[in-house]
Each structure stands twice: as C-alpha cells, then as structure tokens.
C-alpha cells in the first residue's frame, strides 16, 4: 500500500512537471515564431501606410475591413467573415484652422487646433470670441453665465505628469474633452478650446471624442496643441482682451454601414466555446492609427497565425476580432456582444490590445471570480521570462466590455505605455513610431495567454 501510494505520487509529480515543461516549450516556440518569422509588422505597415486613417464611415475604414479580411483569408484561418454594423459618420472636413487675435497690436498668431470628434463646425464664417480659462468644471460653475456668456471657455487642466500610469493621468483630464462643450454651453459659452490630452509640450493637437448633452446648445469644440495652450494661457494673463478665431468644418452625416471583421480557428474538444483576441480597426483621422489601434488588430491576427504556424490545435475556438467604431460609438463592440448572445455563443474569455504596441509588461484582468484571477496570476512564472510581470491591475477593454454581462472573463494586454500619449489621436500616430520587436513581443504575449486559457480553462 505504501509503495503504491509512493508510486502514485511520483507519477503525479512526473506528469505535473512534464505538463509544466511542455507549457514552457510551447510558449518558447510562440515567441520564437513571433520574433523570427512574425507577420504582424508587414501587415501593420500596409494597414497604416497604404490605408492609413480609418475613422468609422470613411473610405479608409472600408479599405481596412477588406484588407484585414483578405489577410486572414490568406493566412488560412478556418473561417473569416464580416459582421454588419451601422456606425456614426462624423467628418472633420477640410481647412480647419485657428489663431490668436491680439487686441493692442495688430496681427494674429496661428495655433494648432483640431475639432473634437462629434463636434459641430463653425463653417466658413468662423467664430471669433474672447477667452476665459478654467481648470475645472467647478471653476466654470463659479464663473457662471456672467463670466462665460459669449466667450470661448478654454479648459486648460494638464494631464498630471507625475502619475506613473499615464492612463490615470489621461483619466484625470479627459472629462474636459468629453463634456466640456456642454458644460460650458449651459452658461452661454459660444465654443470651447480644450488643452490636448498630451503629457508633453507639443506642436500638434490631439483629437478624440466629445458628447453633447441633450437640451444644451451644440457649440464648436476644438483641441489645442499643449504648447499653444501654454501660450494662450500666458497671453490671456497679460491681456484679457485677447480673442481667438477658429474656423472648422466638422459635421455629422447619417449613420453609415460598416463591419466587424472576424477570423476563427475552430477548436477540437470544445469548439462551441470561444476565446476572443481583438483590437479596434477604426482610428482617428489625423494620423495612421498605428498604436491606436493598428497594433492591437495585427497582434490579434498574429495570435491565430502563430497557432496555425506551430500546429497548435486549440480545444476552444479562437477568434481574432477587428472591432469597428471604438473611437466614437463602440457600435462594433456592442454588435459583437449582441450577436454572441443571439447565437448563444459561450465565450470563455476575451483579450483586448488597445494600449499601444509597446514592450509587454503584463495583463489587466477585468472583474471576475477571485479563483479565476488567481489561476491567471498563477501562470506568472511561465510568462515572467518574457518580461510579463504585472498581473495586478484591473481592466479589460472598451470593445470587449459589452461581453461582461455574459459572464465572459475580460483581459487587457498591458504594454509599457509611457510614450503612448505622444501619439494618441494625433498626426504623429504613424507606422514609424512602432518598434518591430516590441510589436512582436506583444503578439506573442497574447498568444501565450490564449494558449494557457485554452489549455486550462478558467474556473
């Protein structure tokens, strides 16, 4: 009896160790494939430099849908299809510009502005008004109608550079962009100028979405380059009579037809269970949508390509999803979750990559059972050799968020994002800002996580 027990334990130990070694070997192969024979970089090059900007409803977005569909077909995934979805269709229009108009001396001085997504335009007659600077909605409220009416409200609270997590600095400032226009319009402002969501002093503006509250006049809203925000602030302090002139041509058109693009490798033992990896295919119109979020899309495609290249047959079905319209509506994410529900597709997990294509640091984990969180964190020793050490932060991703209701475990790919807000929503978000190795390491990290979730499940 004693012997038997010893034998049993030894066997268990051997099996366990060998399973462990096998995971290590597979993950090593995943990284080798991504780094030595990876395809994410050339696919990103095409998506960003040949197609470029791809705001929802634009010809660029349509091209990106067709391009990624073709890429996934060429990679030989088991199925590739489109999910139709109607998306908001906002256009910047051509020729927007702005300038500071001095009162005492003649002359004006150009400033770099960009209409915020969703904003109305001024049209060719432009908008000229005095400027009142505030740092918060409380300051705005204190000024009241008397201080604000007929003026531009200039929201100039910077992102806090001392926050180590830049997304937290972003979170601490982005209310000005999202709600500034309607908050200011309540007090009779004629327009808003919002300091760009950039942590450094820059000469280019950051666009991004804004929303009008119901029952409040829709006034034009523009971002201003951080360096010009500093200039404007300084000039106002010296001369209250300074005015700003903006001319913008933004407009909202009727909703347009578009698509999510889905590629799938079918599972073996549990093919009716799904694991999703995804990014969003749409991007703001100013740059090429490289880090936001071309990288997330090509990494997701690369996960499936790696599985195929290595001959890994997953238990569950694995999908790469290019979500449409994350930037100004989230219609793609909502549509995907809606269809999953209608089709009774059981999703085990979804991983989103939408924090830039930088060196991997770990994964965020969305609200889920403590046991699931623990089991994901228990894989850390397998992932640490690849620089993946941070599994402590909470979060998933915007596009996969609507799946939360269906009990899906959400994860976010967590790269080092220190330089993300140099590029985010700007003309600088271009292919040359993406490092090939960093991009590939991210794709491999996501593939390794999918491999582990698929193999062990989440309980």
């Amino acid at each position: 009896m004693k012997l038997k027990l010893t034998f049993f334990f030894s066997l268990a130990l051997i099996l366990n160790v060998s399973a462990q070694q096998s995971d290590e070997a597979v993950i090593r192969q995943i990284f080798d494939e991504a780094l030595a024979r990876g395809q994410s970089y050339p696919v990103l090059e095409h998506l960003t430099t040949r197609i470029g900007a791809r705001l929802s409803g634009s010809p660029g977005a349509a091209a990106a849908v067709e391009y990624t569909r073709q890429v996934m077909e060429e990679f030989g995934f088991d199925s590739v299809w489109l999910q139709p979805v109607m998306v908001p269709h906002w256009e910047r229009g051509r020729g927007e510009h702005g300038r500071i108009v001095h009162s005492r001396k003649m002359g004006t001085e150009p400033i770099q502005i960009a209409s915020l997504g969703g904003s109305v335009g001024t049209g060719s007659q432009g908008l000229l008004a005095h400027v009142v600077e505030v740092k918060s909605f409380d300051e705005l409220k204190a000024l009241g109608e008397q201080g604000v009416k007929g003026k531009f409200v200039f929201f100039n609270r910077p992102m806090d550079p001392t926050k180590i997590q830049v997304f937290s600095a972003y979170g601490g400032a982005v209310d000005q962009r999202g709600s500034g226009a309607s908050e200011a319009a309540k007090y009779g402002a004629v327009g808003v100028i919002v300091r760009s969501m950039g942590v450094n002093l820059e000469d280019y503006p950051h666009t991004g979405s804004m929303r009008y509250a119901p029952d409040v006049p829709k006034i034009p809203a523009v971002a201003i380059a951080t360096r010009h925000a500093e200039l404007l602030s300084k000039l106002i302090k010296g001369d209250e009579k300074i005015q700003v002139y903006i001319e913008t041509y933004a407009r909202t058109l009727p909703d347009a037809p578009s698509f999510n693009v889905v590629g799938e490798i079918r599972g073996t033992t549990n093919k009716n269970e799904y694991i999703v990896v995804g990014g969003h295919l749409d991007s703001w119109d100013l740059g090429q949508g490289a880090h936001d979020d071309g990288t997330g899309c090509v990494q997701s495609i690369e996960v499936l390509r790696i599985f195929k290249a290595l001959g890994i047959r997953p238990n569950r079905s694995i999908r790469a999803v290019m979500f449409m319209n994350e930037e100004n509506g989230l219609r793609g994410g909502l549509k995907y979750a809606e269809l999953a529900k209608i089709n009774k597709e059981k999703h085990l997990a979804a991983i989103e990559s939408d924090r830039g294509g930088f060196t991997p640091r770990g994964f965020t984990i969305g609200k889920t059972k403590e046991s699931i969180k623990k089991s994901i964190q228990a894989w850390k020793p397998l992932l640490e050799p690849y620089g993946l050490t941070d599994f402590s932060q909470e979060g998933g991703g915007a596009d996969i968020g609507p799946l939360q209701d269906q009990g899906v475990t959400l994860l976010g790919f967590l790269p080092d994002s220190q330089r993300y807000f140099n590029y985010h929503h700007t003309p600088e978000d271009t292919f040359d800002k993406v490092d090939k190795r960093e991009l590939e390491l991210g794709a491999a990290s996501m593939a390794a996580m999918v491999y582990l979730i698929d193999k062990y499940g989440l309980k």
Copy 2:
C-alpha cells in the same frame, strides 16, 4: 511587564512603519521632481543636438566636457572638477563608401558601410576583392588560407532575434566585430565586412570597436547595413565572382588629452564615503550619442540635481561621473578607479546607466556579497510602484567595472532595451529617439536607488 512589552512592541511597530512611510514619501517626491520639474531632457537636447557626436579626442568630446562641467556648476553642486586622462584618438575620415561590383553584367551597386572603430583605412586607392561569407570563426578556420587568401571575409551571423534580452543577442554576435579582422588576417584575408550589430533589417551601418591582435597584419574592417548584408549574401550565392569595393579613410592618431567630468554633493555624516552614478560622455561619431550614452550622463547629473532640489542632504558624498572613452579604450573608467585608489577614497557603490534612456525595469547587481544583494532586493516593494521589478540579473557597467577590485558594489540601471539596437552606434542614435518621460523615470529610479543605498548602507 506584559504591558511594558506590548508598549515596546507597539512603539517598534510605529517607528518601523513611519520609517517605511518616509522612504515612500521621499521616493514619491523624487519621481515628482523628475517628472514635473526635471532638467534631464533639455540638458540632453543641448548635448545631442548642439554638440552631437563626441568620440574620444574629437572637438565634440571637448565641448561635451566643458558643457557638462558648466551644467553641474550652474546646478550648484558642491564641487565640480575634471580628471585629466589621455585617450585613444581614432578618426573615420571623410568620404568612406562601398559598392558591390557585379562580374557578369556591367555596373555596381552602392552598399552602406562604416569603418569599425580602430580599423585602418584603405586610403584613396580603395580595396577591391572577392568575398567569402562565413557565420563563425569555425567556418573561417575550415576554409583556411586556400579559401580566404586575397579575399574579403564577410562575417554574416545575425543577432538572434528570438533572444528576449537583446544584450544577449548582441553578445552572441559581437565577436565578429571585435576580433573578425585579425582572425581573418591570419588566413590572408585582405579585409573584413561585418554584418552590423542590429536585430532588424536596416539601411544604415552600426559602427563599434574592433581590436587588432599583435603579429597579424592590420586589414581594413567595415560594418555593412543588415539589409545590404542580406543582399550581398544573396548575390554571392548566385555569383561567386562578385566583388566588393570599399574606400575608407580611417586612421589612428597619437593619444589625445581629455577628461572625466565629476560633480559632487558632499555628505554629512560619512562624507569620505562615496556613491557614484555615471554614464559615458564619449559617443560614436555617426549619430548624436543620444541613447549611447547621453541619456546616462544627463540622468546621472539629474540624480544630484534632484537631491539638491528636494533638500536631501545625503550621509555619504554623491558623485555624478561623466566617464570619457568607454567606446574605444575605457581609459576614463580606468583613470577614475586609479585615482580613487591613490586618493584612498572609499566607494560604497557605483551605478552606471548605459543601456539607453528607456522605461525603467530594474537594476542589475554586480558580483557582491549575498547579504548585500539581498538587502538591495529587499527594497523592491518601495520601487515596484514605479515599474522597477527586475533585480535578478547580474551586471554593473563597463566604466565602473575597474572599481570592482576595490570592493565597491556595482549596479547597472536596467531599462527596457528592446529598441536599443535600432540606434546603438548608428546615425539613428539621435535626440528625437529619446522619450522625455522614459528618460525622466530613469533618472528618478537612479536617484531613488542612491537614496536608499545612502540611507541604509550596504552590508
């Protein structure tokens, strides 16, 4: 008695917690200072864009010595001085170029080459020869004189892209650059062409140091851009008669006078004990010496500036050292250690930053007592909130290496170096490749480590 003991324990607990909080608070202030009021970035901008390349013995190196001396004076450090040191003086000369000469069809094809540091030049008569490709010294040996004599040896073993630590990929290839010329000359080669130490396909060459063995003819040695290495390799396979022509003007001049630049904040309780932070001031001549190693220099200066700005009076004396001649001689590092010995200066620790100005990941620790390693690693909880999680790798830095003999604990600042070898020793190592936040986070990380070492000592 029982009560007293409880009281004693409670007090100990309170004191301990409060000491802990105080470290946390100080480290938080260090990061705030670096991120909100940091000076490392503008100093780097001047060093790289106004002064630029600064190879030992060059006017640029002299300008950098004087500039960093002035900067440290202006920051009001307690003492700033120069340590004279004679340095090797090698010059690339103007007009080096190379091309592939086809045998069957007329015409030639330009390739991007760069003389390796220390190499002789061909002079204006140039050098035209057939090419034999090898991947290793073993292959070279197998070819022998018969296969090599009168030819270029083309060392074409790439850096292994699947190594997660790029420095280990570098270590696996750099023997070709350092010793290739003399190994090939033993068998009668007339010159060597070495695949650049870059992990990606690039259009620009990486220079770097090489050494001639004694009693072997000194033959010209050039690096070739990785993309052109691939091209050359392909063309040779199709046509063995292909030749390469290079024309290079490199030469070694007599040793030149130069300096290490040292800034110091004097300690209070242990002012005759020293902690060094340093980088190397010299750089290769092709770029601006931004990541290699302008960033290490300005971060080291910033450490002392932060101490002063926050009013931290260290127990030990803290020095920022700009070492001269790391790239092709290490004379500055040797001189610093020699003077420390002569002057009987007890150095507690030295930290070098020479892996690029990227996002911090941790510190390497050189060979030292296990107890010292453990006590450094015990500070991890204080540093983890700033992304510093890796204290497991061994290493210090080239310039501080000569201090090892004096029992000094050596540390290396460890950033995320995934994109380092895109820039290293190339025309691409320019200011615009450095991210302000990443640079500042590194400076703060080093300051935090110096603060802890100074406060607690190393036992």
